[in-house]
Symmetry: C2
Subunit: 328 residues, 2 copies
């Protein structure tokens, strides 16, 4: 394992501190927790909180700030944060308008965020939540009942965050968040694995000419392995699965080409070149495109494509200003 780290056991805490020291104008850490909150608490609006295991940087701490999240709760790498950590986050950001939790669909995450919301409700904090399950690759998975929550989650942060910033009610912000979830689909793949520092070895192995299609953001198995193909063929295959899942015909979409952490930006642009052409040829209009490392898997090399069907409300909220360490 070749990594730029110190004492492995301190990795998560050094990472969170390193984020907060880089961007003190945006974020600070709640002492003795894995919770990152806005430096200045925003009052008079619904508070948004997300999180999950670490290892997906800049998700989720990098999305704390104006127009997106109010708090992000980081567990150990690829491990759900505990209910008490989420509860600390809720208490820190709660306003009279209530708190919406954006939870990726993993059994541990859903359970722990739910328990935290019950704890907060005993304090008379209004808490509700949505579960993101945008991955079309597999129905159930290693850590999931139902589909996994992957890169589309960032679009939920962006759009629900803008809605909350406009002063919408908890029910309204939840409804908009759910609309994004209902309209976003993602599928990914990888050519190399990632190494959880504490494990010290790759979570899976791939042959020199092999790729995994439909892989999850923790390296969980996807639909199958096959010989590595050209980028355009891979992109076409992922798009085919996404487009078969819900009807995008004649719609405007947002496209997210997400890198898994170790993938050079060069390759992501090459992929976007073809994704753009395929969608255009199918009469699907691209309203906005994002290319980069938004929801990573440590140093895994691979990518995912997310397509979000848009309406006027979602377009306006997608374009609304955001000012966070990783999304502006």
């Amino acid at each position: 394992m070749k990594k730029l780290l110190n004492n492995i056991a301190n990795t998560e805490t050094e990472m969170i501190d390193g984020l907060c020291k880089a961007y003190p104008q945006y974020v600070r850490r709640l002492a003795d927790t894995g919770v990152v909150v806005r430096t200045e608490k925003k009052k008079g609006k619904v508070a948004l909180i997300s999180g999950g295991g670490s290892g997906h940087e800049p998700a989720h701490g990098g999305y704390v700030g104006y127009g997106m999240l109010d708090a992000a709760v980081a567990g150990a790498i690829f491990t759900s944060p505990t209910p008490d950590q989420v509860y600390e986050g809720i208490k820190a950001v709660a306003t009279g308008q209530g708190v919406l939790m954006i939870v990726k669909n993993y059994t541990g995450d859903v359970m722990n965020f739910e328990m935290a919301s019950e704890m907060a409700q005993m304090d008379d904090i209004a808490v509700d939540y949505v579960v993101v399950n945008d991955d079309v690759a597999v129905k159930d998975s290693l850590y999931t009942t139902g589909r996994r929550g992957v890169a589309g989650t960032v679009l939920v942060h962006k759009i629900a965050g803008a809605k909350a910033e406009q002063g919408a009610t908890l029910a309204e912000v939840k409804q908009t968040a759910q609309k994004v979830i209902d309209n976003v689909r993602t599928m990914g793949m990888a050519i190399t694995p990632c190494i959880v520092p504490a494990a010290g070895k790759p979570g899976f192995e791939l042959g020199e000419d092999e790729m995994e299609i439909g892989i999850g953001i923790h390296g969980e198995p996807g639909t199958h392995r096959e010989p590595l193909k050209k980028a355009n063929e891979i992109a076409e295959h992922l798009l085919e699965k996404i487009l078969a899942d819900i009807d995008y015909s004649g719609k405007e979409v947002a496209v997210l080409i997400n890198g898994s952490g170790g993938t050079p930006l060069m390759e992501l642009f090459v992929i976007n070149n073809h994704v753009h052409d395929v969608l255009t040829k199918k009469g699907i209009r691209i309203y906005k495109t994002l290319v980069g490392n938004y929801m990573t898997s440590i140093e895994m090399c691979g990518f995912s494509i997310s397509l979000l069907r848009l309406d006027d409300e979602l377009k306006e909220l997608l374009d609304a200003p955001a000012d966070t360490p990783a999304f502006r």
Copy 2:
């Protein structure tokens, strides 16, 4: 070689098209060239142009837009753009206020940008240039007489771009760009190499427990190799070299922790955590920090630290708005 590409020979062109298709609101490609320009030409200001070999994405095309560059000229991967390509770029963005070229100090780049400026001057376009040489690692190098231009170049783009946007003259923009160059120092390292697609194999090899200190952004040799150390020790060593080069004591600085392309953001934040502490302990005040992939070397795993000494002018220009695909 495991990469997400198509026909290797088309990589640069697919990459540039993929960038322009992702961000048509910011950039477009000059037909049949490797030149990326702002979608809408900005008149009435000094035009800024930069570029160099491809493989450093998002540099330089990702920095074309409001408050930064007017054009970026991309050569083949790790290869200087030809004079005629640079000349096309100059002609496309030239205004009555003149053109400033920001050139990284590599023999081929300097020669080809100089030749292009001579061609443009025959068209009565006022062209001047600065040469960025921020790398403190080595005096001369494989491709360089004098020091190499590396990640500090992005800070030159940002600050000179803001100065030009304010309506400064060509001489004034050049003076400010040169002030950044005089005050920015960088040093990098790597733990894994990168593969130029057309070469098909790594440009160098490193043992499983070995790292290269002072490496260049094309994988050129640095000062030495040694066994991999802890991230904090590496950061201290790089900082020591930077701090020994010019006097930062009692100054405010901008810090850029730049990833080489394949380095997970997790590790860059861990590194920043210690860099922040070391500088603070030395009484050097951190005004602003940037952490991410700003000047990459394809999929190389490694990082560099850049420190820019600030004065009031540089602080104001660093904070001025920018709106480009990769820097907002």
